[in-house]
């Protein structure tokens, strides 16, 4: 009898606990407090903000640069210097670059996103659509941001992000391999490019002439090639144009490179970098930071002097070389202490001393005129060449204006790979499938 009563009580307690947990989960979002990192501390600050004007403003700075080997110490220095000079406490929260977007979306949905966060410019529209980002237009005034940088942080004219670095993804080459293979001049047209690749292959079959992306996670690099062949991916009216003459020609050409052994299958950016650093790749696509990455742990002593930025070859003389805009932003979430977080974002991205130091150590181009006009930046030959030859004509990824941009890129990559690997025999049909799926996502 006693056992039965105990069981009934235990069942009731269990049921009540489950109900309590369910209610807690379904309750309306609490006022934005902290993220997963230091959430209780941030919440406490929120509650006592009005009573303690002298207390330091506390917010979280989320990013991958906080924890990545090359940038970790530099960013830490910036945080330490800023908190020492200002009445703020910055809680650091790091996620790997590959997980960053998912984590931020989860935090926004959980009502825990607060402070400032580092973003890849590709993710801005997705986050802006959540309605949780602060308009930072007021924080751009008098800071000398470049027009291109500011545009990369805007969605429908609203300044949601402050540009931290703005550059592009373009072609780089190993000059030593080109010289050895008899490629006397950088190729400017597709025909020249193919001829150069053939020469390199003939010179040394172990060298991959062009480590163009063929793995799923890198096939978005096809977009500038589609532009090169006259395609647009998405036209001015917002219609998906994959399957048009230019996009089909680009994909068929890319497959012909694969069939001829001029590019390799399953190539992703990390592999391309590693092989380039070993002197086993002549051309590949990368961001402006390529030089800093491939010269780490390379057995080639002077690789830094051998790497050259290459304007993407064009279909016919006179066409504009194509490249994808690339960069990082800092955004701020609406909520308590968002002003303090915005001032930190402003300092990090536009203080000349801070941005020049970041450039010196990370080779990431600054986005404010004062830093760009500094001797340090102007005297960097590689960076100047990149800015003139590659970034000058860089364009935004056509998928970025859409909330589902990441999925759209995946669809493009999946269909392109299906054709490259022979699963789909017709380039036009592959693009047509991609166009249909992407159009559905747009709606």
């Amino acid at each position: 009898m006693v056992t039965k009563q105990v069981r009934q009580i235990a069942s009731a307690v269990l049921l009540l606990s489950m109900l309590a947990a369910l209610l807690a989960g379904c309750a309306a979002p609490a006022a934005q407090t902290g993220g997963a990192a230091e959430a209780p501390a941030a919440a406490a600050t929120t509650e006592t903000a009005s009573a303690a004007d002298a207390a330091p403003a506390e917010f979280t700075f989320t990013g991958w640069a906080i924890n990545e080997g090359a940038s970790k110490e530099t960013v830490q220095e910036f945080i330490d210097a800023y908190t020492a000079a200002n009445n703020v406490t910055i809680n650091e929260q790091a996620f790997p670059w590959s997980e960053m977007l998912n984590q931020l979306v989860l935090q926004i949905n959980g009502g825990t996103a607060e402070g400032a966060a580092q973003l890849d410019i590709a993710w801005l529209n997705t986050l802006a659509a959540t309605g949780k980002l602060k308009d930072l237009a007021a924080y751009t005034e008098g800071r000398g941001y470049t027009e291109a940088g500011l545009r990369s942080g805007q969605v429908d004219g609203v300044q949601y992000g402050l540009p931290w670095t703005t550059a592009s993804i373009g072609l780089v080459a190993n000059q030593q391999i080109l010289d050895a293979a008899g490629v006397s001049e950088l190729p400017t047209t597709i025909a020249d490019f193919e001829a150069a690749l053939e020469k390199i292959k003939a010179y040394d079959p172990e060298i991959i002439p062009y480590a163009g992306m063929t793995a799923l996670n890198g096939l978005k690099d096809l977009i500038p090639w589609i532009w090169t062949f006259g395609g647009s991916v998405i036209d001015a009216d917002g219609k998906v144009t994959l399957g048009d003459e230019g996009s089909v020609a680009a994909l068929e050409w890319y497959k012909s490179l694969l069939d001829r052994g001029l590019i390799a299958s399953e190539m992703d950016r990390a592999t391309a970098r590693q092989l380039f650093s070993q002197g086993k790749v002549a051309f590949y696509d990368d961001a402006v930071v390529a030089k800093g990455i491939v010269t780490t742990d390379t057995p080639i002593e002077n690789l830094g002097d051998l790497i050259v930025p290459v304007p993407r070859p064009v279909l016919k003389e006179g066409d504009e070389p194509q490249s994808l805009l690339w960069g990082h932003l800092v955004v701020v979430f609406d909520g308590p202490n968002s002003d303090a977080a915005a001032k930190w974002a402003q300092h990090l991205t536009s203080d000349p001393e801070t941005t020049i130091t970041y450039f010196e150590r990370m080779a990431l181009p600054p986005t404010n005129e004062a830093a760009l006009q500094s001797e340090t930046v102007k005297n960097d030959v590689y960076m100047s060449a990149w800015a003139e030859k590659v970034t000058a004509t860089a364009r935004m990824n056509p998928f970025w204006p859409y909330v589902e941009s990441a999925r759209m890129e995946s669809i493009l990559a999946e269909q392109a790979q299906a054709y490259l690997l022979g699963g789909e025999s017709d380039a036009a049909a592959a693009w047509q499938k991609a166009a249909t799926q992407i159009s559905e996502l747009m709606q």
Binding site: A21, A27, A36, G110
Partner: protein
């Protein structure tokens, strides 16, 4: 007893050798990579043996205080998860095995159904719930979420073992005046040690290996090794494969050692209840 011909034995051993090659080559490659200098990791053509041996990647792990902190967090969270899972699942499995009550079967399948949802999907729900309960960024939140996922299988594993224990043994204990708690603690637990070891190790491994929950629910200083290693070695501009391989080998050592020590218990514990006698 069927006598095997020489040919069939050669075939069998060849098949086993191929299977072993598939299983162990990646581990060998991890080891070989961890012993090469960075400049040799992507050398082409690759070589089976490192051309230059180095222990620098192992030293990097040991000298990195943040990695040691991740290691400490992993030990703490995985151990508490294993203990909590064992504690709860022992009583639950005993109840499911030896008591007959209304809704028993439905409840058992309900418990198991938690395993049918993708964990990444549950993460969203759990994150929202833990955020409301102000539990984010605590060790407790990791233990709670890991235990949630280990319990169903732990309960079923132990139930299988309890099912094998004859009810006569329990009846005899009752005749001797033992109550339910005494029956569990003094009669059943000593003879279920293999199952407890297997179940505990399973729960420990779940806590040890999880990536996405440990990355999402807590901040850097409370994260465990899997997210810690990715945070440390893989990024937008970096892929320190040799360091990562060395660290991965080092952190898998405790599990390997545990498996070697408890091998006999694990096999008998895992197969308990698999065959009705």
């Amino acid at each position: 007893m069927i006598k095997q011909s020489l040919g069939s034995r050669i075939l069998l051993y060849s098949a086993l050798a191929v299977a072993a090659l598939f299983a162990f080559f990646p581990i060998y490659w991890m080891l070989a990579t961890s012993l090469r200098p960075n400049s040799e990791v992507f050398a082409f053509p690759p070589s089976l043996l490192p051309r230059t041996f180095t222990l620098e990647h192992y030293q990097n792990f040991i000298r990195n205080p943040q990695l040691l902190r991740y290691l400490g967090n992993s030990v703490l969270v995985a151990s508490v998860t294993a203990l909590a899972s064992l504690l709860i699942s022992t009583y639950a499995a005993y109840a499911f095995s030896k008591f007959r009550f209304t809704g028993r079967r439905s409840l058992m399948f309900l418990v198991l159904s938690a395993q049918m949802f993708p964990q990444a999907l549950l993460l969203i729900t759990l994150y929202l719930m833990f955020a409301r309960l102000q539990l984010l960024d605590t060790y407790l939140v990791l233990v709670l979420s890991f235990t949630t996922f280990t319990l169903p299988l732990c309960i079923w594993m132990l139930k299988g073992y309890f099912d094998q224990i004859p009810n006569d043994l329990i009846e005899a204990a009752k005749v001797d005046g033992a109550n339910q708690m005494q029956i569990i603690h003094r009669v059943l637990l000593p003879i279920t040690r293999p199952a407890l070891v297997a179940t505990g190790l399973f729960a420990f491994m779940r806590g040890w290996n999880d990536f996405i929950y440990a990355l999402t629910l807590v901040s850097k200083n409370k994260q465990t090794l899997p997210p810690g290693l990715v945070l440390t070695y893989v990024g937008e501009f970096q892929s320190q494969w040799a360091d990562m391989m060395a660290a991965s080998l080092l952190v898998s050592l405790p599990l390997v050692i545990a498996f070697v020590i408890f091998q006999r218990h694990i096999v008998s514990g895992l197969t308990a209840g698999a065959v009705k006698g």
